[in-house]
């Protein structure tokens, strides 16, 4: 290759500026989280874990994120599988998955208020049918938050799994069927293990996005169903205590990473095993 097809390194200066800005923000976050009224230390973190309501919020955040991840998988995997198996025009099915993505999270979340809210579609339908007398409380609680999060982040799971399923060697399936394994056995022994890397990537994405979500818990959660992210937002809004907010952001980061890092290690092992199997 001639040297002149190699673009000059000077081009990296603008991206470097953005990256330095980003790292400065993260660094500042870490430093500020250690600032307390009595000098530097872990005081903010101690204060956090001394407050039972904050600990409850942290636990609720993890529970909601895990539940959303699990449900997104239960709903997303069959959809991805159906798209991959579909013989006809896949693009239409893909559109159904990707279209919601193009619509603002705020609007999509609002849709659930319209459907499940006290004056919403479902309640009005049930009341006009005479099944119920007074509206049922379906959202503004943890269930509402989970429904919203699953809906908003499910496409990420579907696309992760689909990106693996679409590149599976169809020959493997046929081989398994010719060797007289039924469709269920073929799925369990061939498709499922080979799609695991996609499942793990999808689960990581949904968990990560759920822990950091603000819009959905704010709109679909009750007053007492805050997640760590909304708690941070409300604390920043009410009392501008940056060190406290940054220590809570660090706790949020750790809550996210403590699950993701083991999952990523698992993904590497699975991927290594799968690529060994495929050959």
């Amino acid at each position: 290759m001639t040297t002149s097809t190699k673009p000059p390194l000077i081009l990296l200066i603008p991206p470097a500026i953005l990256l330095v800005a980003f790292l400065t923000g993260i660094g500042y976050l870490v430093v500020e989280s250690l600032r307390t009224d009595m000098g530097w230390g872990l005081g903010n973190f101690v204060d956090f874990f001394d407050r039972p309501d904050y600990v409850a919020v942290l636990i609720r955040t993890i529970v909601i994120a895990l539940a959303s991840t699990l449900l997104a998988g239960v709903i997303g995997y069959p959809i991805a599988y159906a798209i991959a198996q579909y013989k006809g025009n896949r693009n239409f099915l893909m559109m159904l998955v990707i279209m919601p993505w193009l619509v603002s999270v705020v609007v999509r979340t609002y849709g659930w208020i319209v459907i499940l809210g006290p004056k919403g579609t479902l309640n009005s339908l049930l009341m006009s049918l005479g099944i119920i007398e007074t509206p049922i409380r379906m959202i503004f609680n943890m269930t509402g938050v989970v429904i919203g999060l699953v809906h908003v982040f499910c496409p990420f799971f579907i696309v992760s799994v689909l990106s693996v399923l679409l590149y599976l060697d169809r020959g493997l399936n046929e081989a398994s069927q010719t060797l007289s394994a039924g469709p269920i056995k073929t799925f369990l022994n061939i498709t499922w293990p080979l799609s695991l890397p996609g499942v793990i990537t999808g689960a990581i994405l949904v968990y990560l996005l759920s822990t950091g979500a603000i819009v959905t818990p704010l709109l679909l959660g009750g007053v007492r169903d805050g997640m760590l992210a909304t708690q941070i937002y409300q604390d920043v809004l009410q009392v501008f205590d940056y060190p406290k907010a940054s220590s809570m952001a660090i706790i949020l980061l750790l809550a996210a990473f403590s699950l993701i890092i083991p999952l990523q290690l698992l993904e590497r092992r699975v991927a290594a095993r799968v690529s060994g199997m495929g050959r």
Partner: protein
């Protein structure tokens, strides 16, 4: 068994577009709620939106921010991809990881980090600050598609045009960029959509008179159940 499977699949597929369809339908009702049986149909929410200076202003501002962010991010991502796809130097892998890094941070934590950063830079509560934050979070979305199209591009084409005497600048303009067009377009669109929709991080960066459309809709829904905010241009 087959029928049951089809029913389950139809329900699963209906789940994703459902709220959007309901929002679109209810934006045409008088009460703002799509109820069954259906009540009278009206365009009042749209009239309210498009006759309100404030909403139109926010629509234009969010659009302008998104275009600016998409332009900057796509350009910066192109620069990074051009270098990183052709050069392998110590730290080039790390550089790439850094570009993708904002993706693995929970959004709320990013919001707090950007709040601090903008304070440090003296641009807190300004549109400039929002643009900077959006550029950082959209960079990975721009980088990936551009890198993918760059990887598909055969360096021999560039070498051929160069051996025919084209200057590096001319090669870039007449050969490389036209071939990268699909990647550049999807990068631009990704960035535009992410920036235009972004509310989770932006809520930390707004000031009383500096806000974006999705954030304003969010606060509007929170403050009142009145859905006049709802017929956003998106729905």
């Amino acid at each position: 068994m087959r029928v049951l499977r089809s029913i389950v699949l139809v329900l699963l597929f209906a789940f994703l577009p459902l709220p959007i369809i309901v929002v679109a339908l209810s934006s045409l009702t008088k009460t703002g709620y799509f109820t069954i049986p259906l009540e009278s149909i009206s365009l009042r929410w749209y009239i309210e939106f498009f006759t309100d200076q404030q909403w139109i202003g926010l629509l234009l501002i969010s659009g302008a921010i998104a275009v600016l962010v998409a332009l900057i991010s796509t350009t910066v991502a192109l620069m990074s991809a051009l270098v990183l796809a052709r050069h392998k130097f110590t730290g080039s892998g790390a550089f790439e990881t850094l570009i993708m890094l904002p993706l693995v941070f929970p959004n709320a934590a990013l919001g707090v980090a950007f709040l601090g950063l903008l304070g440090l830079l003296g641009v807190s509560g300004t549109y400039l600050g929002i643009v900077l934050a959006h550029c950082i979070i959209t960079l990975p979305f721009a980088y990936r598609p551009i890198l993918n199209s760059l990887r598909k591009l055969d360096p021999a084409i560039e070498e051929a045009s160069m051996s025919l005497g084209a200057s590096p600048g001319k090669v870039l303009r007449t050969v490389t960029l036209p071939l990268l067009k699909p990647g550049l377009i999807s990068a631009f669109l990704f960035c535009f959509i992410v920036s235009f929709d972004e509310a989770t991080i932006t809520v930390f960066l707004i000031a009383p008179d500096v806000t974006t459309l999705p954030v304003r809709i969010l606060t509007e829904i929170q403050e009142s159940a009145s859905p006049s905010s709802r017929p956003s241009p998106h729905s």
